[in-house]
């Protein structure tokens, strides 16, 4: 996030797009409610009638994958009404002329045609966002998990810069990270193209620096992304894999294909706290420690670095994951002799400029947001205050591109995926929590009454969902939370996992798979009726 979570409360206008905030980020949703109570305008752009729309002043249901057209349409109106921030554009940005040119192609009528959102709503959003004093954008995987996810994110940055709503309190472009430490895993260089703190591996100076720090020779070649690794396992260019606390056999698109790839590995080692679907395929599984059984730090979505502290011992002979990595590395012939996570953190501060001023001693007093470049620096809750990282903010002139897979005769319905409130990701943790499992122990699809009628389905009945990649059987809940022509499903339930169906088409730049749109067909199955599911639908 460019700004902190508490700031949301003081925004005048909150634009939520592609984020089911009350489900995925409940404590951010509560800030939205507070802002609303203080008089903020709330705009939600989401194909589903998600819970946070209950406080929305404007809710629009753009067609799946049409976000760039929607945002371009909004910006077109802002320009034609002269609501853009001319001074900000002049002083802080570049590339405006090109953007202006492209936006000419997106008058509200055209944007409306692509997105299915009315021209009145597009105008209302434009005026509310541009003319409020403090306007903030919140987005999540509904924006990024597309074959054009990077374009979506850049479009939101365009909107924020065009209106000068960045680098100021309660403004900004704010990605809400789905998992607790996505931010930290990226910061620490858990990416194929960068070392810690996003220092690119292809830059010779960076490489030399890390070669010196780590006393080694490093590769100048960008590594494989997750999906490339899976292809590599299949074509034999990747022979072995070590997986730390992840379950790609549940979370990756087209899981049948992923499982097959993992089975091809000559050697697969997994470190996890449960025997996940991925661990079951492994040659060796190491029992790790949960967050409650070790010391360390997480970096949350507002870039706050927070401590975790050991409360209890790991069960049986399980060990903290950092210890396991040290043990494997040392036996492999690369000795790692860190006494404690604190010692590792000292090394992190040494090689990671944005963490340079942080230490366990300082974090004792509470979290600190990076960048924190020196011991006396207070941390940075708001990014891009006086300048952007690259100097001037760059506008990206972008055209709308349709999703990879569109509905057709054989697969007439679009499937989109997401979470349900009691669960989390592939469910490894939440299914092992009695309370959460009792809230919801079975998955289902949401299907609109029109479509349900077409196939002859009623709530609680079983149905079969078929895509080009596979099929799953699950219960149906008939509801107008979804629009006609669209169904919704989660990937929390391994026995009926949406990712059997999803499309592994990747964004060309950041290689995010297109989880949020794929074409399917729904078929009725003759089976039992479950009353609980009906109850869930009415809740």
């Amino acid at each position: 996030m460019t700004n902190s979570i508490p700031e949301i409360e003081d925004a005048d206008c909150i634009f939520i797009i592609g984020s089911n905030t009350s489900v995925a980020h409940p404590l951010i949703a509560s800030r939205i409610y507070k802002a609303k109570a203080k008089g903020a305008k709330v705009i939600v752009a989401d194909p589903r009638r998600i819970h946070v729309t209950s406080v929305a002043d404007i809710h629009v249901r753009q067609k799946l994958g049409s976000d760039v057209a929607l945002i371009n349409g909004i910006m077109n109106v802002i320009l034609s009404k002269g609501l853009h921030d001319k001074a900000f554009i002049e002083e802080r940005t570049e590339g405006f002329e090109k953007l202006e040119q492209t936006l000419k192609n997106y008058p509200p009528e055209k944007a409306s045609e692509i997105t299915g959102v009315s021209t009145e709503d597009i105008e209302k959003i434009a005026i509310a966002f541009a003319s409020s004093d403090k306007s903030t954008i919140l987005y999540a995987m509904g924006i990024t998990q597309h074959s054009h996810g990077v374009d979506n994110v850049k479009s939101l940055a365009n909107l924020s810069m065009l209106t000068g709503k960045i680098g100021k309190p309660s403004c900004g472009v704010n990605p809400l990270r789905g998992q607790n430490n996505v931010q930290g895993a990226c910061d620490m260089g858990g990416l194929p193209n960068v070392y810690p703190a996003y220092q690119v591996v292809t830059d010779e100076n960076n490489r030399k620096k890390f070669e010196q720090l780590w006393n080694t020779q490093l590769s100048s070649k960008v590594g494989f992304t997750i999906m490339e690794m899976m292809h590599g396992l299949e074509d034999g260019s990747i022979k072995g894999m070590v997986i730390l606390g992840e379950n790609p056999a549940g979370s990756d698109p087209d899981v049948k294909h992923v499982k097959h790839a993992l089975e091809e590995a000559e050697f697969l080692a997994v470190i996890d706290i449960f025997l996940t679907d991925t661990a079951k395929i492994a040659d060796v599984v190491f029992p790790g420690a949960s967050f409650a059984e070790k010391d360390g730090t997480f970096s949350n979505t507002e870039r706050n670095v927070l401590r975790i502290r050991k409360a209890v011992n790991p069960p049986g002979e399980a060990r903290p994951d950092w210890q396991i990595i040290c043990d494997i590395s040392t036996r492999f012939g690369l000795p790692m002799t860190y006494e404690s996570p604190e010692k590792i953190f000292e090394e992190i501060a040494l090689v990671t400029p944005s963490y340079a001023g942080l230490s366990y001693a300082r974090l004792e007093n509470g979290p600190i947001p990076w960048p924190c470049p020196s011991k006396d620096h207070p941390g940075t809750p708001i990014l891009h205050k006086d300048r952007f990282t690259r100097g001037r903010g760059l506008f990206h002139a972008l055209e709308y591109r349709p999703p990879e897979e569109l509905a057709d005769e054989e697969f007439p319905i679009l499937l989109t995926t997401g979470r349900f409130f009691p669960h989390y990701h592939t469910g490894t943790m939440t299914h092992n929590s009695i309370t959460l499992e009792n809230e919801m122990s079975e998955g289902y699809i949401e299907i609109h009454p029109y479509d349900a009628k077409d196939v002859g389905l009623t709530s609680g009945e079983n149905c079969k969902i078929v895509s080009r990649r596979g099929e799953v059987i699950t219960k149906a809940v008939v509801t107008d939370i979804v629009e006609p022509g669209t169904i919704f499903m989660s990937f929390h339930f391994m026995e009926a996992n949406a990712n059997v169906l999803t499309n592994p088409a990747l964004d060309p730049i950041c290689k995010i798979p297109e989880y949020k749109v794929c074409a399917v067909r729904v078929e009725k199955l003759e089976e039992t009726n479950t009353p609980e599911i009906k109850a869930a639908a009415n809740a």
Partner: protein, 135 residues
Amino acid sequence: MKIEYVRTTCPYCGCGCEMLLETVDGRITQTLPSKTNPMNQGKLCIKGWNVHEFVQSPQRLTMPLLKKDGVLQEVSWDEALNFTASRLQEIKAKHGGDSMAFLSSAKCSNEENYLFQKFCRVGFGTNNVDHCARL
């Protein structure tokens, strides 16, 4: 009876709510929200309130497992570590470091993610490390 409260951070979503784990004689008895953290201000969501349940699930792995005759079996740490180290050495010697791939974790700590990518980059001379930020 020894009761302790340990301040820590929720491992579920990116909000990063701070919480207190109440332990009685080495077992977690409940989870309470931190009142002083400016982000969560004494609140947690349903996942946070029940976070200790998965920690103490009987399904947790307690021993290293090694696949023998197609079945995962409990083995000693020494056996699992030695097997892993020798397989990794073999693959590196035979096919080169670029034939290895490492999947890091958005659930693990910064310290663990740092060590893991260092192990990949230094131990194998490859940048084949990624995690599920995209997922």
